[in-house]
Point group: C2
Chain length 319, copies 2
């Protein structure tokens, strides 16, 4: 019998529970949105019941798993399995989530940040195969990252290493992050920044073709709408995408100077902006790196988009 692994990915809108084989392929999966708006213990009870359902319908016993791996969207203190804070779900401040799950299982529960789990999935089964070191960066509503060094996740003291989204790249900018700081990468180049970036362009007198769309709300501009704008040849959408690409290029360059990795993998919703965006990231990166790039660095996109979280969570339990 082949080995099977169980991963749980708990996000702000979706929660996935999956069984994964040793090649990282999904054997079976349950997706729910019922986990939101629940108290912590109720969320845990729901997810545990989904794990049991999944095991049962695959004729598996818990003891056949090496463990249960969980990726959770929030700041996790890895060593004690506590959620420090999350902006994706209500509650959970200081909540001992690993322990809460562990009470329901005999096999060990491993809890990590969702981006670390995604990075680990990408490392084991995606674009990171064959590398010892890599950085995985997810560019979506926020910006997160996971760092692999010497074939292991590097988590830092608390478990929050890789928060490149909060590094300051434009001090004094009028763009403010959820953390309260001005000019961090997330404030100028993530989904969070898009409504304000759109507003700034129109304040400067630029006309967007998006404004004519029925029901268009400039306060709700997101990556998907700007992609539509790009497809409509809207100059404002194009400029915002290029501005975001420029700052992400700086972000990647700063990661290169800090960690000198052989590989940076990009994931998250905004990479669907496509070549215009990715080319701007790369051209900014290479222009800054200039003659300081002594060995090749590969900048590529996630190979397991959409499933990296739950696959990576399962992979946390693999040897």
């Amino acid at each position: 019998m082949t080995s099977v692994f169980c991963g749980i990915d708990i996000g702000g809108t979706k929660c996935s529970v999956a069984l994964v084989d040793e090649q990282g392929r999904i054997v079976d999966k349950i997706l729910t949105r019922e986990h939101t708006g629940r108290q912590e213990a109720e969320l845990v009870a729901l997810v545990v019941s989904l794990v049991h359902e999944l095991l049962q319908r695959n004729n598996l016993r818990e003891s056949q798993l090496p463990g249960i791996g969980i990726g959770f969207a929030g700041h996790i203190r890895y060593r004690d399995g506590v959620v420090i804070t999350t902006s994706n779900l209500q509650g959970f401040q200081g909540y001992p989530l690993r322990e809460a799950f562990q009470e329901h299982f005999t096999v060990p529960v491993i809890l990590d940040n969702d981006t670390n789990a995604q990075a680990w999935g990408e490392y084991r089964f995606g674009a990171g195969r064959g590398y010892d070191d890599m950085v995985f960066l997810t560019i979506s509503t926020g910006i997160g990252a996971g760092i692999i060094i010497g074939g292991r996740l590097y988590r830092g003291t608390t478990g929050t290493a890789g928060e490149f989204g909060h590094t300051i790249v434009a001090p004094g900018s009028d763009l403010v992050c959820t953390c309260g700081n001005r000019g961090c990468l997330m404030a100028v180049a993530s989904g969070l920044a898009l409504p304000r970036l759109f507003e700034k362009k129109t304040e400067a007198g630029k006309k967007s073709r998006l404004s004519g769309l029925p029901g268009f709300d400039p306060g709700k501009v997101d990556g998907r709408i700007l992609k539509k704008g790009l497809d409509m040849e809207d100059p404002v959408s194009r400029e915002i995408i290029l501005d975001c690409g420029y700052y992400m290029g700086i972000g990647l360059y700063n990661i290169f100077q800090a960690l000198n990795p052989p590989l940076i993998v990009l994931g998250g919703g905004l990479i669907h902006w496509g070549d215009l965006y990715l080319d701007k990231i790369r051209s900014t990166f290479y222009s800054l790196a200039g003659n300081m790039l002594y060995d090749p660095i590969k900048i590529t996109v996630s190979e397991i988009i959409g499933e990296a979280g739950v696959t990576g969570a399962a992979a946390l339990t693999m040897k």
Copy 2:
């Protein structure tokens, strides 16, 4: 007999060769400035002769050493021991320095970047004792760093990890680095930046008390002169030191978000600016970190100032 270790620190103005005991204490040392202006092979021959002299006068044979450790001021490709480039000495572009030394010794030669060697010295014998992870940052004419992860130097693909000095913190700044980029940390907050920072203040109409000093040359403003200015209560010197501290605070904050280390150790000439400077670095750091600092981080100064390079180079040969 106690063990003895040999370290060589090759800088742009000084070259030290030392024997160090297992507690990192200097047993004997030779310092020279004769190494500059020489061809690569001549520099190697000079330094080798100093090693032999040092061994002889301490009644030691080369075979009693586990190896020879070298820290060199430049970009080193660690895996093959080649100097890629250096702005501190003439020549050496693409020079196989480790091999050139190895031809003269039977024990293994280890070649690393001088800042990595300093970081390693600080880790083994200075402020880093008792930690598994740390970042050592030297703030001098330029800004360099060494990263310790899991009790080992993390060097990255080429060996240039830790180049936080080249990370961009002020895009579009009119301050240009030796690398050609605008607004990297080194361009705005290192010794290199000081003449231009002084010029900008005086262009803005500010009066410096330093201008009255005999022989004062604004084009040669350095850390030492600004320290003198600070002691004279010169407002321009004070402002420049605070500006540099502000950007270094951003630099440290970015390192914190990237690597979440428990310890950052500061070395290099500019730390002699003292409390005004260090307090500005710390206050900027803590103000940015705000409520995102979930575990303590120690920000401290080097404990083996002046000898970290050669001690660390020797320590590269320790088990």
